[in-house]
Structures are given as structure tokens and as C-alpha cells.
Symmetry: C2
Subunit: 461 residues, 2 copies
């Protein structure tokens, strides 16, 4: 060979060390003290005009129910549609159901830009209004763009900082993986989750701030500050895995997952929204006949810091607050999480790993005894001393209205959650969940929110 | 903590060492010398009555074209159906096409049982007849079973050795991963690829033999001895990855793949077989109007060593022999393979990593100059000194008739295959391909055949 080797190391251990250093940096980063964050966010809130109003479907601008199918779509054919889904399966308590579902085939980018200041990685976070968030303004990734956004279907302004994520070789990619979103509400949606480090000078827009991973962890201990899109990207951060030991070897865990995914016969087919049984379309909403699960509604938005100045759109509004929790145990001195191999009708590949508990309790009020969702009562009635974390977070505020879940970590013992996990459940370490979360189709979006809490130090097990 | 730790090591380095020892064992294993293999296979051929005959569709037993759709299916509703597929995409030389496609939603098991004899891992291989193989009898996995097989839809005999793969905890799982099959011919098909080690006594059925990985490698140097199902399982063997360095870091490679998968807008929808444009149904076959790609035919089978004694079924018969090759280079002293991020209409998730070349040359005879499939002519006209491997192998003989491809490894230089790979191609090491092949939806079945040649030592780069 002549010349220098063109090769590089396949694994860079340095990134995990630098992420750990950033997670340890709490209280103040180089740019904004955590104590000053509220003032900064409040200044962003005052700087912009935000207003969201419920409207009747007939008052939607550019959206209509299409003749023949009743599917709700935009006249451009872009953004997303609300269609029907019919699911048949041969497993679980519900074997057949129909429901409205959001179809959004485009792959968007959720990207957080990283840069070292004073030797510590900081992350560029955006104060972004989304119509579905109860408090409207939350901390979001640097870039949160559907393809419609950046190909300018809605003729808005450029997406700031987008080039860092779309120009190959411009920065150093720390993570880049397609991840699913809510399989109960989206039909096979995936977004690209990206962490990109730059050493360029980055002009700071006034709606953005640089925070360490530890500072973001501090904010994640509060209700409804860090949005879902930021949480799922943070879940993909390649922080140190550490543990060499676990209850199951990685191969045994993967085999358990493969077996679960191979089991169910699932037929999930889109149907016309008009033909969805048990759902009723009114002037202002589409509701389940028993008032359960969610409703489809419409809103008009006036805003000053989005790419466009005003718009209207449909949103899904869940009925009730979700409860989403990992039951945890320390096994052989190593923390373990109880994952659930969960079927959701909108998943591309049937099954993903979900938290131990992922239910909206009010939807299951009439299920008693053996029929109660497993571990739900354990979480709802946990002794406070066993609750390591409990906060409210919002799901994607661009598609869901007031979609809040309580996210918890709850310690359990052998009598509550045995080492020999029930069918469909398995004990995994945080490192194992991270390993699988480095690939697509394994870890669902709710489990990724809980993983982001571990990655940022918001929760320590 | 009281009692012993319940934990185990997440990674077992010993397995890779033991697989390497098995790959080094050539010429003779503990059970059957490679030199005696032909006699053994011939004895199996003589022991059974095999006969395959082409028949008209009207003579199929239990199969018919369904009214309304023209889909070809079995009256039980099981096995598989031949339906239509319509693909629209915004990338590549072909943007829209329609074709017949096999829909087989059940997940089957392809499993090879392993056991140490005299300290060396041996693999239990089966001499199995399949109607589509030109030579009928090939070496297949221990178990090759659709769910219809083992739930007895066709009321046949038990599948031998199946319990080793379906009874959790009975053996030690070395690999267990869902893998796609031919995306050009199957609609979203996946099979479970399993390697399970046992230390039980295993009664040896006369159609089975124990071979080392190295012996299987010797047989893989011959044409049409080791079937596709065996090759894809062997590709998943966790043999040592070795190389710490590569042209792209694992993260950069994964990011490149994520970008490729995110790019194309692909709409692949099943349509009634009757409505597929450019295909013509006759009494004996369904053909493309230009006689290209493949035809759908029917066969009657008489056999003595299958789970049932005789049956008839449709098969896909490709027109022409495929050319499937990795172009290779040694970069910085480390072997690299040029992978192609390839869209196939039947993939569950749009794109998988394919060999550099995967074409049937006769389908592209009228494409000249810039329109020629990339690297095809480089492979077809390669100096023999640059060809490290060249053998014919059959695709799945249970679904495809005389589906043969030449599989090659061809060395190239900078002028033929530059370090700066063209769009859609990337240089990866064998270890990186194995890493991704340890998960679903990354490495297509043709690339896995080539990987099995590396894993067994049939090819050394």
C-alpha cells in the first residue's frame, strides 16, 4: 500500500465517554444556566403570538373528507391523511377492531445538533410551539421536519439548521436510525432520529439554546417541558452501556424477541374511514361509540414562529391520561427493566418492545380480576417509596391534542414481578434496550421516552 | 443478595472461537468424510422415489384461480397465494411496474441443529427433495417448516427434530433472527433463521448427516449442493468478526443505510392477479408479454421422503440464470465488499443491502451504455485471475423452478470500483455485513448466500 490507510475505527469509545461527561454537567452548561431556563422559555413565549382554536371539520382550510372513502386529507395530497384501519389477530384480549388512523408515509427528520463548548457536548434545543401541547411551547429538537416541510409544500420559510442533517459529511454523525412512532395512532410511520456533532461556528437563533445532556435531564424531571421528538432522539444517544452481565444473554434476548414477533397472525389493513365500525362522525369530531380511546378533531392555529403563519389541521385527541411505566428490579446487582412485546396495529412489523405498562386506565375501567391489564394496578397503587420517577409528558403535539401520559419507573419485588417473567414479558438491562434501540423496529416510542430519562440522568436506577 | 447471581454474560466470545474451529475442520468431520458425501447423497437419492411433472393450472389439485380476483390459492386458505403487485416509486430506472407475486404471510422456521463431536461443532443437515431444484435433492437445514407444515394443514407426518427449535430452553440458541426472502418474488415474506446447539443424544435419521462448518464450505464450492435455506441460516452464524477497522465506522455505515432507506417514496400495493398489466395467463403458465423476468407454472410432485406423499403446486420459474456477485477490494489491508442499497417491491421496509450485482442479464439485454446495470459487465467479463469464487446455486426449491444464479466474488481495482463508491453503493467489511445480518431487514437473501460462503470458509478474501 502507498499513502495513508483510508480506514477508521469501527467503534468510537470516545463518544460514550463524552456523552457521560455531558450527562454529568448539571446546573449550568457553558451557555444557559438551568436556573435561567424558565425565564428564557418565558421570553420565547412572549415573543410570539400563539393561539389554537377548535373548529368544525367544515371550517378546515384545505382539508376535506374525500368522496367515496370519507378519508380526511389535504388538497395537496401531502402532509397526512386520516383513514380507517381494520386489524385481525389471533392473540391478545382484543382479536378484531377497527379505528381511524393517521397515514403519513413520508419519512421526516428529527435531528439534534451537538457541539462541544469548554470540552463538554451541548445540544441545540428549540423552543417550539405545537398546537396539540396543552402548554403549547416545549423544548424540541434542533430540526423537526417532515419532508413536506423541507420540500416547501406549504410554502413556508426555510427550516433552520436543516443543512447540518441533510448534507452528507458536513458533521460527525453520532446516531442516525429510523424509529417508529405510536402504533396505535399512526399507520407504519417512521422518522429518522439523528444526532450530529459539528465543529463549525453555529449562529444562535433566538428561539434556540445550547444545553448539556445533564441539563436536559434536569428539565425532563418536570412535567411537559421536553417534547416527544426531543425525547426519542435522546433515546438514541450512544451513551455507555457498561454492564457486561444480564439476566438473558443478548442472543437469548434476541431469540425471545424473534419468537414473539413470529407468533401472531396479524392482518392490519387500511379501510375507508367511512366504513370504520363503532366510530361516529359529527360536525366537530369523530368519536368512538363508547367515548373511549381518542377522538379526531380539528383546530385552527395562529402562530408567529412556525415556518408558516397560520393553518388549520386535524388532530387526534386521546380520552384520558396514559400511564406508561417500566417496572424495575435490581437482579444480581444490575438494574433490569421489564419489557413487554406489544402488538400495535400500526407497527410495520407487528411487535415492538414497549414499557411494562402502557395503558389509558379509563379505557379498561370495566376489566376486572384476571382481565385487568398486567402490572397496571401495581403501578397505579405503588408505594411512593418505590416510585423512582413520575412526571407528565406530551406526545407529538403536531398530531395529538392534549395527549399526556404519566411516565413512571416503579421498583418491584419477586412477589410483584417475578424473575420468571410472564409470557410476553422479559427482563432486560438498560444497555440491552439501548443496543436494540440502535436499530429500527425494536423499541417503541413510549419505551424510548423512558430510555431518554436514563440516557440524560433524569432517572438513575 | 442471597443465593448465586442469576446473571449471565451478555456476549459469549466462546461461540465465535468454536465456530472458527468448526470452519477449519475440512476433509473429515467425526461422522462423514467429505469424500464419502457423494455416495451418501446418492444413496439417499436412490432410497426415494422423486418425480416432478409440469401440469396445466386446471390439473392442480386443491389450487384454483379465485373468482373476482384471479388470485391463485389453495382451498384451505393456507400455504401461499399468487397475487398481483403494483409498485410506484420515485427512484431508479423503473418507476412503475406490475407483476405476479407470492404472498405467504406465515413465518416459517429454518433451523440447523448443532452439536459438538470430539470438541468440534457439527451441523445436522438434511438430504431433501424440493420440486423446483433441477437436481431435486440438495442439502437443507435440519428443519425447514412453514407454519402450515407443523400445524399439519396438509396432514403429513411430523417434522423431524422440530422440537429442538420450538421448545424454549431445550437447547442453546446461537442465532435466531427473522430474515426476508426474495423481494422480487415474495410479498414481505420472512422466515426465522435459527442455529440451536444441543448436548442431548440425537437419533440420526437416515436422510440426515452431521457435517462441520468447514465441510459445508467444501460442498458450497460445488454447484447446486447446498440449498438456499441452509445458506441463509449459515449466513447468520455468529462467527468471529475480527476486524476493528473499516472504511466507514459502524455509525457512518448505519447512517448511510438510514439515509438510503429514507429517500425513496415507494408504494407497493397488492392488486388482483387478473388486473396485472403486461402479464398474460395461459393454460400452462402466466408470462410477461416480452417473455422476461419469470413465469408462473404448475407442477405435480410424486415423492417418498416429504411429509406428504404427493401434491401439486404453483412455482415461479425465472427466465434466465441470475448473476449475483460481490465486487471486492482490499482497503488498508482489510477486505471490503461493495454493497448495493436495493429497492425490491416485496420488501417490508423498502430497501435492503444487496450484492454489488444482482441481475438476470437477459432481462437487461437492451440496456446499453449508461443504462447498463452498474458493475454487471465488470463481473460478466472479469479476468479469471480476479474471480475468487464462481458457482451455481439454486434459490428456494419449494417456490421456484430451476431458479439458478451464478454467485461470484470478483476483485476490482480503483479504476473499476472506486473508493468513493457511486450513489447507492458502499464499501463494508464482512464483519460489518455480519453485524447488520444479525438483525432483520438489513441484508437480502442473495447477499446472505454470499455471506454464508465467507462464514464457512468456501471463500477467503
Amino acid at each position: 500500500m502507498t499513502g495513508p490507510s483510508p480506514l477508521t475505527r469501527r467503534h468510537d469509545e470516545g463518544t460514550a465517554v463524552r456523552l457521560a461527561r455531558s450527562a454529568a454537567a448539571v446546573g449550568e452548561g457553558s451557555m444557559l444556566r438551568t436556573a435561567d431556563f424558565d425565564d428564557w422559555l418565558e421570553s420565547r413565549r412572549r415573543a410570539h403570538h400563539f393561539r389554537v382554536e377548535r373548529i368544525a371539520f367544515a371550517d378546515l382550510d384545505g382539508w376535506s373528507f374525500q368522496p367515496g372513502t370519507g378519508n380526511l386529507g389535504h388538497h395537496s395530497g401531502r402532509f397526512f391523511t386520516v383513514e380507517g384501519l381494520s386489524v385481525h389477530t389471533d392473540t391478545g384480549p382484543y382479536r378484531h377492531w377497527q379505528q381511524p388512523i393517521i397515514k403519513q408515509p413520508e419519512v421526516g427528520i428529527l435531528g439534534i445538533l451537538a457541539k462541544e463548548f469548554d470540552g463538554v457536548l451541548h445540544f441545540l434545543m428549540q423552543a417550539k410551539m405545537e398546537p396539540g401541547n396543552r402548554n403549547l411551547l416545549q423544548l424540541s429538537p434542533t430540526v423537526q421536519a417532515t419532508r413536506s416541510n423541507y420540500t416547501k409544500v406549504h410554502r413556508g420559510a426555510d427550516v433552520k439548521y436543516l443543512d447540518h442533517f441533510t448534507t452528507s459529511g458536513r458533521g460527525r454523525v453520532l446516531a442516525d436510525v429510523l424509529q417508529s412512532e405510536h402504533g396505535a395512532w399512526f399507520f407504519r410511520k417512521a422518522n429518522r432520529n439523528m444526532l450530529v456533532e459539528t465543529d463549525e461556528d453555529v449562529p444562535l437563533d433566538e428561539d434556540f439554546c445550547w444545553l448539556t445532556l445533564g441539563q436536559i435531564g434536569e428539565l425532563l424531571r418536570r412535567d411537559n417541558v421536553v417534547n416527544m421528538d426531543a425525547r426519542t432522539v435522546l433515546a438514541c444517544a450512544p451513551v455507555s452501556t457498561g454492564e457486561p452481565d444480564a439476566l438473558l444473554s443478548d442472543t437469548a434476548l434476541h431469540s425471545w424477541f424473534t419468537a414473539r414477533r413470529s407468533e401472531p397472525d396479524v392482518r392490519a389493513e387500511r379501510i375507508p374511514l367511512d366504513q370504520v365500525r363503532d366510530w361516529v362522525r359529527g360536525e366537530w369530531s369523530i368519536d368512538h361509540a363508547k367515548g373511549r380511546y381518542f377522538r379526531v378533531v380539528a383546530v385552527a392555529v395562529e402562530a408567529g414562529n412556525r415556518e408558516v403563519r397560520g393553518w388549520s389541521q386535524p388532530l387526534f385527541e386521546p380520552c384520558g391520561t396514559g400511564t406508561t411505566a417500566f417496572v424495575t428490579r435490581r437482579l444480581g446487582g444490575v438494574p433490569h427493566l421489564l419489557v413487554h412485546a406489544k402488538l400495535e396495529g400500526g407497527f410495520l412489523d407487528r411487535i415492538e418492545l414497549a414499557p411494562t405498562v402502557q395503558y389509558t386506565a379509563s379505557n379498561h375501567a370495566d376489566r376486572t380480576g384476571e382481565d385487568r391489564p398486567p402490572f397496571l394496578d401495581l403501578v397505579l397503587s405503588a408505594d411512593p417509596a418505590r416510585v423512582r420517577y413520575d412526571a407528565l409528558h406530551s406526545e407529538e403535539g403536531g398530531r395529538f391534542l392534549n395527549a399526556e401520559s404519566r411516565y413512571l419507573f416503579v421498583d418491584a419485588d419477586e412477589s410483584q414481578a417475578p424473575l420468571d417473567a410472564p409470557p410476553g414479558y422479559a427482563w432486560v438491562t438498560p444497555g440491552q434496550l439501548r443496543w436494540l434501540g440502535g436499530h429500527s423496529h425494536y423499541v417503541n416510542v413510549q419505551a424510548r421516552t423512558l430510555l431518554s430519562l436514563l440516557n440524560t440522568g433524569a432517572v438513575r436506577l
